[in-house]
């Protein structure tokens, strides 16, 4: 399942027309710049470049909520409402961002443009996909032991790839962040699982040896 993109099924010509329709504004940012137009209730579309959504905790920790690549979207609607003030959107590279007002997006378009509804349909897909990813994350985090978190995660990847030997798509440090557990505790648990013959693993390569129907 490849992710839906915001301009799927919309031609370049239509995108141009759309800009009028939606009163879309495009702005350029340089690497490292912070995007501030979010308060205004608009939808951001990453036309080119990469941005990151960062949360700053009160104790100074910065958490990467999400990384958004070309054709990705961001906006108030898409992240949590708590801590409204302390979410920042930072450009990792030079970026071109298109802003569309929610008002215009959700109002009935008097031109009855087909690309208008296509865009909303694409947004629906994108948000649904994001929702599913969040559900998966909740499913993992709701496991009460580290081992069960690992097993739930491994099973997920394994099922997705259709293989029992999987490669974790990020570093093990990042995996421990994703699972919200201590890195050393996680590695310790993986070692135990190796010793018990439940898995075989070396760095990011993991082979599932346990009976998956058990979990």
């Amino acid at each position: 399942m490849s992710d839906t993109r915001i301009f799927d099924n919309i031609t370049d010509g239509e995108i141009d027309k759309m800009k009028d329709c939606f009163k879309a504004v495009t702005r350029k940012y340089i690497e490292g710049e912070t995007i501030n137009n979010i308060e205004s209730g608009s939808l951001g579309i990453v036309v080119s470049g990469v941005v990151e959504i960062i949360r700053f905790d009160f104790d100074g920790n910065r958490t990467i909520l999400e990384r958004i690549n070309e054709n990705g979207i961001f906006g108030r609607l898409f992240f949590s409402q708590i801590d409204e003030g302390d979410v920042e959107i930072i450009c990792l590279t030079d970026c071109e961002i298109m802003f569309v007002d929610y008002e215009h997006l959700t109002k009935q378009c008097h031109n009855a443009c087909s690309h208008h509804s296509t865009l909303i349909r694409n947004m629906l897909s994108i948000v649904s996909e994001k929702s599913i990813k969040l559900s998966n994350r909740v499913e993992i985090l709701s496991q009460r032991t580290l081992r069960k978190k690992l097993i739930t995660y491994f099973n997920m990847i394994s099922k997705e790839k259709g293989k029992k030997n999987i490669v974790i798509p990020f570093s093990l440090s990042n995996l421990s962040d994703y699972l919200c557990v201590d890195r050393s505790a996680m590695l310790r648990e993986m070692k135990k699982m190796r010793e018990e013959g439940l898995i075989d693993s070396h760095a990011k390569k993991v082979t599932i040896l346990y009976d998956q129907t058990m979990f």
Copy 2:
């Protein structure tokens, strides 16, 4: 913020027209019955009654993923893809369910009906709201200690209500399920927090005494 409903801004007359347009099928179920039409890739709309989405773990545990009331929607798009086989939708009461095929929903409507795009727009709102709730849940579950989970949860409710004395909207047993922690461990932690003067609490009534900007 009150939740969007699927038929917002659509008149009863339009709903009837829509049924033709979408080839919608309405079925009645009795209390306790299981709904099975989900494989077919359709969207379920609860016209009347209450349904519950249940997950059965391999070890026999049943987890309530969601309770859906009148005008709520459910479907493959809206819950996690793992464990596809073992999600059940059960009617808690007598129910009337409208099924709309995703195909018809996502295709361009040749009649260019306005209610068609309104419906998709409403779905977008519903899914976004769900997404935000899931983000909140992830934020809570990603806290590594029981105390931080509680504080994050209390802050969320407090912020929502604009008060420092809050009433937990479900039983404390259910709260421990929501936070994915042991009930007795949670009560023990709340007792400690009382003793340390961080909160005041009696059963479901909690008053926040700590400085919220600290967390």
